[in-house]
């Protein structure tokens, strides 16, 4: 607060000092008219006033970095000064008498007008210098500021060297210093890097402004000629100020002249420059876009939008090619390539271009992975058949989007004029397409990782669900050994098995395989468990059970999926096994006399209509004797295969059981598993594997 206050006082102090010194000068001039020059250092006092005015202006000066605005300020101030000078010096006029080597004013009004004119022109000159400084130090190089400082010092040196010089005399030192100053103007004035960066419209504006400035300042120079009324006024006031003002006018004149000429020279290239600037801007934007890949639609929209900017195209569209792995999950009616975004063109037009003949831009870019440019759309043999388009095409350009050696899309741009695209356009669009390809690719990678995470979560959920679906305990029944081996090959398997006591005498066993894996398999499995638990007590006959289970599951299962199942009921008092098979691997009956497959007819659940299912299903019944074993399994056992694809098969399974029939259930189980593992040479299992061994030990 204190500092601010101090600063404000400082500013007011400068103004008061300047004004006081100026008034002293004025009073001395008035006295001088009557009694001749009374005070030899009158010039110093007047210069002091201007120094104070300068400090005052400087304290309020806001640096502005736009040269065109500064130029405008010079023009406006110049015009105002011209108007005032015309009013004071020409309209009202001053009268001087030439006495010796001095100018003596004829009346007091001349003294006042001279002083007023001098203070206005002097302050204006200071402002002109400050404005020029701002223009010159725009985009400074190492010596820019130094050079300008030397220039100002040169002007001030010339000004000071003319102290107390009579109006029409000259000093050698002043002439030399002024000469050096002019040289310095030339050195400084060729610095105009700001012109290059102007847009075309701004360049035209600059030409108009610099030309006007030239006119205004030429007029000012004429008005302030040494012998004119205004010139005399300043010379009378102070010859030093005359040098300062003349120097400033010269500076403004030379600088505007050079600016005028060089803007004219730059005008023809301004279109190219404008385009380069917009190219740079859009490439810059795109590189920003690369980080904004979370929204794919936004991304492709921006790519087409920027294509219009980059090469001033009329319309643009982007076709995205689906990655191979995504293609597999597409429905056949969907195409692997689609229009992701378009600008100023209708989808029917795009389809028309792509579909109407054997040669299309699309297939050409896909095959060659090179840009295709058609300069004359109407007459080119490749496109001349394309009429009836809503939009008007003169030329068209198609460039491939390639990321990690993979064609991810095709970018199109069109213009209404023939030969609208030149080599530079092609290069820029290609560079642009590379950037866009990276962005598209990144966007996909991100999407993929999201997708993977989602699947992982789903899988975990399904796995949890499946664990709960498996029987938590195996029924413990006297004189029956029951052993289970079950291992899903993937996170979620399709194998299902369960046990249930229908009543005191009957044990129901179910084993099955749901086609497919993952979440859908877990879902069908859950449904199967529900069906098993609700139907097994209602339909103790395996055939009836399966017929009803088929009916229940058919209505909800996908037509591509099915469930293979064996449903067996063991009478634990008599040892009679009744079973029916719905497309599942036949189970094995290991009797003392023979080890054999039991394979009653039956088709998988959910495969055919109910009528067919009922028609074909059979029931089988076997009496177990002590030491007999029943082995149920899923195809994970028989289809276990070596690296070369040779399957374990049915005969090896039969063999393993034959060799171990007399062992306990647990030993039979382990023997089969170790036999399978040995055969697979410890390869990881490819499919879910489930094995149920039932051993009957009652005499």
């Amino acid at each position: 607060m204190n500092i601010k206050l101090l600063q404000r006082f400082g500013k007011i102090f400068y103004l008061i000092t300047g004004f006081t010194l100026f008034m002293i000068g004025l009073i001395l001039d008035v006295i001088g008219k009557n009694v001749g020059p009374v005070f030899a250092q009158i010039d110093l006092i007047k210069i002091g006033a201007f120094v104070a005015f300068y400090l005052f202006i400087q304290s309020y000066w806001k640096r502005e970095s736009i040269p065109l605005k500064r130029l405008t300020a010079i023009l406006i101030l110049g015009t105002v000064v011209l108007g005032i000078s015309l009013l004071l010096a020409v309209a009202i006029g001053t009268e001087f008498e030439f006495k010796g080597s001095s100018l003596i004013p004829n009346n007091y009004s001349t003294i006042f007008i001279s002083n007023a004119l001098a203070v206005i022109i002097g302050v204006a000159a200071i402002i002109f210098i400050l404005l020029l400084r701002d223009i010159l130090v725009y985009k400074p190089r190492r010596y820019t500021k130094r050079n300008f400082l030397i220039l100002v010092i040169g002007l001030l040196a010339a000004t000071f060297s003319a102290i107390n010089l009579n109006p029409y005399e000259s000093r050698l030192v002043t002439t030399i210093l002024f000469g050096i100053f002019v040289l310095l103007i030339l050195i400084n004035s060729f610095r105009m890097p700001w012109i290059v960066f102007l847009k075309k419209r701004e360049k035209v504006l600059t030409i108009v402004f610099t030309f006007s400035t030239l006119v205004i300042f030429t007029a000012l120079s004429i008005i302030f000629q040494d012998n004119s009324s205004a010139g005399k006024s300043i010379l009378y006031f102070s010859h030093s100020l005359k040098y300062f003002v003349d120097g400033t006018f010269l500076f403004v004149l030379l600088y505007s002249l050079i600016a005028f000429l060089s803007t004219i020279f730059h005008l023809p290239t301004s279109d190219t420059f404008d385009r380069k600037m917009s190219e740079v801007a859009s490439l810059h934007n795109l590189s920003k876009l690369v980080t904004q890949v979370l929204d794919f639609n936004e991304l492709v929209d921006s790519v087409t939008g920027m294509t219009l900017q980059v090469c001033e195209a009329k319309s643009s569209w982007l076709e995205i090619i689906q990655p191979a792995e995504k293609l597999k999950n597409l429905k056949p009616e969907q195409s692997g390539i689609y229009v992701a975004a378009q600008k100023n063109i209708s989808v029917p037009d795009i389809d028309h271009i792509n579909l109407s003949s054997s040669f299309t831009l699309r297939s050409s870019v896909i095959n060659d992975r090179k840009p295709v440019m058609i300069d004359d759309f109407k007459n080119d043999t490749r496109t001349q058949h394309l009429n009836n388009l809503e939009s008007k095409f003169g030329s068209i350009l198609a460039v491939p989007l390639i990321a990690r050696n993979e064609l991810v899309g095709i970018l199109y741009a069109t213009k209404e004029t023939e030969y609208g695209f030149d080599r530079e356009d092609l290069e820029v669009i290609s560079a642009f397409a590379d950037q866009a390809a990276v962005a598209v690719d990144n966007s996909r990678l991100i999407e993929k990782s999201f997708e993977r995470e989602r699947l992982m979560r789903e899988m975990n959920l399904a796995q949890e669900m499946q664990k709960k679906l498996r029987p938590q305990t195996i029924p413990n029944i006297e004189h029956i050994e029951l052993e289970v081996f079950s291992s899903p090959a993937f996170e979620v398997g399709g194998d299902y098995y369960d046990f249930m006591m229908i009543d005191d005498k009957r044990l129901a066993i179910v084993i099955g395989d749901v086609s497919g894996k993952g979440v859908s398999a877990a879902f069908y499995m859950a449904e199967m468990k529900g069906i098993f638990q609700s139907l097994c007590k209602i339909y103790p006959s395996p055939k009836d059970f399966l017929v009803n289970a088929n009916q229940a599951i058919s209505s909800s299962i996908d037509k591509r999926s099915f469930i293979s199942l064996i449903y067996a009921v063991l009478n634990i008092e008599t040892g009679v096994v009744t079973s029916a098979r719905a497309g599942h691997c036949p189970f094995i009956l290991a009797k003392e006399s023979d080890v054999s497959f039991v394979r009653p007819n039956g088709i998988g659940l959910g495969m055919g209509n109910s009528e067919l299912f009922t028609k074909y299903i059979q029931e089988s019944q076997t009496q177990l004797n002590s030491g007999d074993a029943v082995i149920f399994y899923t195809d994970g056992i028989t289809e276990a295969h070596t690296k070369d694809g040779d399957e374990f098969g049915y005969s090896r399974l039969l063999e393993a059981i034959k060799n171990n029939r007399d062992n306990s259930a647990i030993d039979i189980r382990d023997a089969i598993i170790s036999s399978v593992n040995k055969y697979m040479q410890n390869q990881p299992p490819h499919d879910d594997t489930t094995l149920i061994i039932l051993k009957w030990l009652r005499n």
Binding site: N329, S515, F562, Y616, E647
Partner: protein, 117 residues
């Protein structure tokens, strides 16, 4: 990963698909696309030749089931031929022979088609 190939042929207006290699959950969509393409062209007489098919999983079998209804509704059929005994066994266990016409040779299937037409 696994090599699976589909080849299309046509013989007197009957579409023949040759399957080769492993038809499993990964390759089943290819097979499905193949059949869909034929059906889209309103061709409903289809022979699937399994001569060079070395493996078929439940997902592969599911493809047949997905289209048989539509094909038969349009008075066509999918006949399966030239299976190795191993492949046949997979079809057989599930009860496919009860629902589909499985024939030893392509010629048999072609004859059957032309007779019925």
């Amino acid at each position: 990963m696994t090599n699976f190939k589909i080849n299309f042929r046509e013989s007197s207006n009957i579409q023949i698909i040759d399957l080769k290699g492993y038809l499993d959950a990964h390759t089943a969509p290819d097979f499905e696309n193949a059949i869909q393409k034929i059906i889209n062209n309103k061709q409903y007489n289809i022979i699937v030749n399994c001569k060079n098919l070395s493996y078929i999983s439940s997902a592969g079998l599911g493809v047949f089931m997905a289209y048989i209804e539509e094909v038969r509704k349009n008075k066509g059929d999918i006949k399966i031929t030239n299976m190795s005994s191993k492949i046949y066994n997979v079809f057989d266990i599930l009860g496919f022979p009860l629902l589909y016409e499985i024939m030893n040779t392509e010629e048999d299937a072609l004859k059957k088609f032309t007779k019925s037409v």
